[in-house]
Symmetry: C2
Subunit: 472 residues, 2 copies
Amino acid sequence: MLSPVTEAFIADLHTRLPASSFRELSPAYLEEPRGRYHGQGGALLVPSTTDEVAEIVRACATARIGIVPFGGGTGLVGGQIMAKGPAPVILSLERMRAVRALYERENVLVVEAGAVLAEVQAAAEAAGRLFPLSLASEGSARIGGLLSTNAGGVNVLRYGNARDLCLGIEAVLPDGSILNGLKRLRKDNTGYDLRHLLVGAEGTLGIITAAALKLVPRPAQEAAALLAVRDPAAALELLALAQARLGEGVSAFELMHRMGLDFLAQTMPGIRQPWPDPPDWSVLIDLGLGAGQDPGAALEELFVEADAAGLVGDGLIARSQAQRAEFWALRESIPLANRRIGAISSHDISVPLSAIPEMIARAGPALAEIGEFRINCFGHVGDGNLHYNVFPPPGETRADHENKRAAVKRCVHDLVNDLGGSVSAEHGVGRLKVEDIECYCDPAKLAAMRAIKSALDPIGIMNPGVILRAPA
Amino acid sequence: MLSPVTEAFIADLHTRLPASSFRELSPAYLEEPRGRYHGQGGALLVPSTTDEVAEIVRACATARIGIVPFGGGTGLVGGQIMAKGPAPVILSLERMRAVRALYERENVLVVEAGAVLAEVQAAAEAAGRLFPLSLASEGSARIGGLLSTNAGGVNVLRYGNARDLCLGIEAVLPDGSILNGLKRLRKDNTGYDLRHLLVGAEGTLGIITAAALKLVPRPAQEAAALLAVRDPAAALELLALAQARLGEGVSAFELMHRMGLDFLAQTMPGIRQPWPDPPDWSVLIDLGLGAGQDPGAALEELFVEADAAGLVGDGLIARSQAQRAEFWALRESIPLANRRIGAISSHDISVPLSAIPEMIARAGPALAEIGEFRINCFGHVGDGNLHYNVFPPPGETRADHENKRAAVKRCVHDLVNDLGGSVSAEHGVGRLKVEDIECYCDPAKLAAMRAIKSALDPIGIMNPGVILRAPA
């Protein structure tokens, strides 16, 4: 059983930490982007060093006080928001945002957990390298949170998830000990891979305080195209064709449904729409090739071959980097348009690649039995990862359909499970999907997760109620 | 405290398993490639299904009997050999070698743990795909063992370690429960990543029984070159140059010292040596490029640029796939030549890329203070992974220097540790390096590993004494 933060606890902490580590708790730490949760906290702590984080964790362990680690606050599953239970410490990494070291020759950047993704991308670019993690919230999301949730984004197809871009971590474990794992090694087989255990643990097994990140060479030439595809199956065939021709040169491959473009037109009319008559399905394909190769020409050849195979209709190849950026702005604005429309239920799901057409074909009719909805299905189709979001019909709000939300979610998740998929592809479990995990997760996995949580965090102070239900 | 296998235990198992699951224990299961360990076992079991594996594990858990999982027997750190302690069950996966399914469109192959790597490579090739894990023992090593040790090999630079090529696993946990994790997903953030925990756990947390493996498109064109380099620093500069020009097109980048070629000439005179006058240091570089690109021409251009920068001396570009295979046979035969010469101490180490020259520069003089040795340093320099092997002078045997072995190992490992490296880059810990881990491993990591082991395998039946010392 955990205890709430008390004045005595804070007074005691004041004797051990500099005054700068204490800040008044403001509403920004108690909200999340979709407005589903409203948090509470007994104190906001903003340590500036790993030792200070360790000091806080030790104090919380002794006092049996819960800790909610806080990164950029962009998480979509309530992992950063504790709505109930004894008031926890909210521990924000925002002051630990230093680039500790750049190893240019090694393609390694060591940064603190509070560094914002866009800053890390910029540091890599300044060194002539690429840090390929890229997602809509990159201007606010912080590295610690991105690793804790094993964030995905648009370049996973080529470069992998956040975990694949992390060579080593430093973390404070639930007993306050410091895991010194900031190795810059490509190969290290010295026992259990705690990095991979903490990455994706959403702060429930420790607090990541720094990471050694993998950089990659910047592709010499980049180009993008928007191609109208016949249907999702054609999108997959187009992807296979592109990969057969261009291998790892395909950096991103995003599927969009016309609904997303409609939502954009409705909520953000300032964004220039590329299609005079938007196709039902389109893909945004991004290429990054080596010196001496011409990605624009490669896209044209791909289009010609795909057209001959009946996969694509119209196509737009970006004529400049500005136009390429425009294509991407379109794609990256869809989540915000969705938020303005207001989804009844959003699903971050993945299925085996070949099951994508079946998923899309079956979900629509199944949902129609529950009610009349608009569906915006888009996402990282090359990873089998769809954002399958369900909206009210025009003129109605999500509040009007709140009573159907559970049934909608169940319908989509049952289908995903049936197809061997995952009910959380890249957003994580947080507090939002704890019940889904209990419902769909392999029982042996669930039991092993509980055993690991109990072993490493026997009191249960680390982000209580995330991934696994907090003990009653 | 564990118990030895008894006749009563075997008799009881006979009532639950088919007769085909029992085999006489032959010496092949009690030996390892370097002849350092001689094993013992109370029984050899060869189950043919995951359920049979689970049955055996449950029986062993009840009787508190240790289990040594056995793959191809090619491990180099004694993970498959239990030399002391109560006689264990040796559980070989050799009968579970089926390809369960091929998902061509998804680039996924689902195989059982006993499948030999060469068979898996062949299955991928038959589907027009590549399974890029490749190492000298690929004709014998089995997938279960390769994943349990997170094997590396020659293509890690481009495609990652074994763990990076695994999308999902099925495993039997120490309580006999079956972890059904054979997902074929590129993104799945539903809790702790048990796949990454079991991969690299060397059979101490469960027995991997099947895996969903990631295939990749076969490069359309491949080519290789052997280039004489000025020194290890020049090799690293050459790698940077190659990657800047060709990105992921660089599939492998292997460093060799002349000593390896000398050992080959001495022990395997049938192998054709490419150099009339072997250089001190050379690299084998392998390119795999997309359609329409010419990797031979790319290697020539690279050579010209590297020559202008003073990095390379002579160079040989393979004129045919047969010659490319010859270059690779040369590289892949070095471990066997080493074995025939007989190392005093072999070290599978990694250091941060930029520390490689310092490592090599410092290790030689440091070892010379211990005695007169020959050193064969070679390996996957693109991964920072060197096989730094120490041999007796000509005319002497490793037995003559047995008394120096501990000092040699300590000298190399201290230096590696000093440079922020790893004392086991790709071979694992096994039973050989348990003390090294105790000496060099971060204390917080060691404590967390022990907690996880106790939580998942409280009796300690799974591969006792591997990675972590078995309780006395």
